[in-house]
């Protein structure tokens, strides 16, 4: 068969050739995911979902962020939710979503339970995340723009495939797990801005685990439930663009171009913060800063005078002022009521002007700094510009160090690069 599901299934179950870039980026995403998850342990949504898991008790099959263990499906639900609670995990623009938060909780839980080595986990996770991205492309922008949250919908398929790979699925079983996931995958953007957003990620991860465990036990679903007039694509306003999704599959790893977030705020602010970083702004010199950004972001993250930490996370003026004044925008704790009330932040904020600019893409920002001495400096940043592997490693490890301490970040990185068992990594979720 040469349909979409069969092609993806053959890739997911078959021999793969990875690149050094893909392997290192995957390891960096695992480190980033552990660090971001640990930083999210005490968020209210994390506490609620963990609490439900604790009530259920059950076999201690897989570790949870925040300590304790739970059955596989539940661990995926909890860890997916916790690791997306801060919205600080990795993003892929082609996937239109966050690949790690749906796939890694599922892949790690099952790798730990099956006592696999980390190399197996990394390979299965890479295949799963690549599958999420390919399915994200297959569904296309219409699926997202009409209301579906690709992190959750495409993510569930990626989680299912990653677990299937750990369990040694044949191509036939991969087809089955994709077909079964088609009836379970869900998630609406209507939940953005609420606890429902991180829950969508946990839900996707749990859906993938559940589907894969059932197929492993001999469940016999319709394996062709992704394509066709009644399949997941057509019913969920997907483009079902096979060519876009399958181009280069197996030869090229789209996951290599995943973005890591280096600021604990809305992604719409990141290009501007990177451009400001290039300008190395010193507050006393600033007469005015003009920020140009894609019009889409004006209604998303242009809070003019934020007063709470959450509002600051959606404010160009606040985050650029914070960075210039030495607040660490990588730390979630930096965004607070206190920082909003800091007179130096307020003063600098009043010298920052934000303008929509049709000429920029959604991943670009342009900054113009007018200094008090009359000098005018400019910088443009595009988040799509590839970051060199050494730079990326430095920045992800620095971010992880800030979130969980250098000793822990280094220990996890060393484990990922030198090998070891999945269960030792899983034990690091406790925090």
């Amino acid at each position: 068969m040469s349909d979409f599901t069969s092609t993806l299934a053959a890739f997911a179950a078959g021999p793969i050739t990875t690149t050094a870039q893909a392997r290192i980026v995957t390891s960096l995403s695992v480190l980033d995911w552990v660090a971001v998850g640990r930083a999210g342990i005490n968020e209210p949504v994390s506490t609620i979902v963990r609490d439900m898991a604790m009530d259920e008790a059950g076999a201690a099959q897989a570790h949870l962020f925040g300590g304790g263990a739970a059955p596989l499906r539940t661990a995926a639900l909890v860890n997916g939710t916790v690791s997306h609670a801060l919205d600080y995990d990795d993003t892929h623009f082609a996937h239109i979503g966050h690949p790690s938060v749906a796939v890694l909780p599922a892949a790690l839980a099952v790798s730990e339970w099956d006592d696999r080595i980390l190399v197996d986990l990394l390979k299965a996770a890479l295949v799963g995340m690549e599958t999420s991205i390919r399915i994200g492309l297959w569904l296309g922008r219409g699926h997202y723009q009409n209301g579906f949250h690709q992190t959750a919908t495409a993510g569930a398929f990626g989680a299912a495939v990653a677990v299937g790979r750990i369990l040694g699925f044949s191509a036939g079983q991969m087809r089955q797990v994709l077909g079964l996931t088609a009836t379970r995958a869900a998630g609406l953007k209507a939940q953005f801005g609420t606890m429902g957003k991180p829950y969508n990620a946990g839900m996707a991860s749990a859906a993938g685990v559940e589907a894969a465990l059932l197929i492993h036990k001999g469940f016999d679903p319709n394996a062709n439930a992704m394509e066709g007039p009644f399949g997941f694509g057509a019913t969920h306003q997907g483009a079902a663009d096979d060519a876009a999704a399958l181009d280069g599959l197996g030869d090229e790893w789209l996951f290599e171009s995943v973005s890591h977030k280096f600021h604990a705020c809305c992604h719409g602010l990141h290009a501007a913060l990177e451009a400001a970083r290039d300008l190395d702004i010193a507050e006393p010199e600033v007469a005015e800063i003009k920020v140009n950004t894609h019009p889409r972001w004006m209604s998303v993250c242009n809070q003019m005078s934020p007063t709470t930490g959450l509002e600051a996370k959606f404010s160009y003026r606040a985050v650029i002022a914070m960075q210039a004044l030495g607040y660490d925008t990588a730390l979630p704790g930096s965004y607070s009521q206190k920082v909003c009330a800091d007179p130096r932040v307020k003063s600098l904020q009043d010298r920052i002007v934000v303008e929509a600019d049709e000429a920029l893409s959604e991943t670009q920002a342009h900054l113009a700094l007018l200094r008090r001495d009359g000098a005018r400096l400019e910088a443009t940043h595009d988040l799509m510009t590839p970051i060199s592997l050494p730079d990326r490693e430095d920045r992800v490890r620095a971010k992880a160090s800030k979130l969980i301490g250098t000793d822990e970040a280094d220990a996890i990185w060393s484990m990922l690069r030198t090998g070891g068992r999945a269960r030792d990594l899983a034990a690091k979720l406790a925090g």
Copy 2:
């Protein structure tokens, strides 16, 4: 607020006035559901899903069909799947689905865990099933025709509301649970004819329990995620017809017109079997039987010469011959390879002619019996014709007696009609 979600939430949380008809039909549906679930315990899909639950172990919060207990979410998944495994549970034509299999597993699990009396369970279940039907109407035929399985999609909302009612939700919490369920509800008709169909019911039931438990713990989702351009209705090809859904809400119980299945075969055959029952056919007299049915069914259940039990369940000729020859069409075990090979069945089958008839609705069938003595008898049956309450009670209790024995059926019926605790009913799932 007067939006759709708020109106439904106010109904679901508020004081209700039931009718004797609604109360008795609900009790009959509970008896029918227990009997059908017990009859489905050993189906392959039941074994697989139960097996996953057993691996997870966990707090013994709620009984399972087939024995043992599991946490609430898992019990709902298992019991929803098992009770839909034979596709022999109740159906509602306006809902376009099976209301009991999504709602009752959720409502019973939580009632047992919270040690509630059966009256509370029955009331919550009625409100949940009425909600499923109303949401089924709101989504409309387009949602179903385009590929969604209303039993699962609308069913998840009904399950959530039933659990919310047991947990004492305010109208605000009901809005929240509907909003959270909107991001989790799923299920495709593409799974029809496979294990995925009963799984859809279990999945819906578990989704409702999960959403309600999270809201109970303080989860704060977007409560307005059903309506609007990015809500569940619009994203899932629903008509979002508020007027159709809300007409008579609170005054009229649409659940009263639920249909119980009295033959363990495809629903498309039931009107013909009922008409044949009216004719009281004796095999030796038959020269020819002409069956007229809606054209839709010709591709669904008109197997000409079935050789397996499954094929017989989709064959007008086989089931009418079986009934005339005294095989009990209410027993799943009657449909077998052996019955297909019975020369008497084969001989009578060859005297039965099936024709599509545009003049009939999907719920109607017309039979014309030509006797060897030249007499011609005719009968028409419409499944939409209301069945009197005493007749319905007789037939549901007779069906339950056949499936689980008269003693058990009578004990459950007496429990439901005279009161008692939900946990005593739950203990009856073991079989």
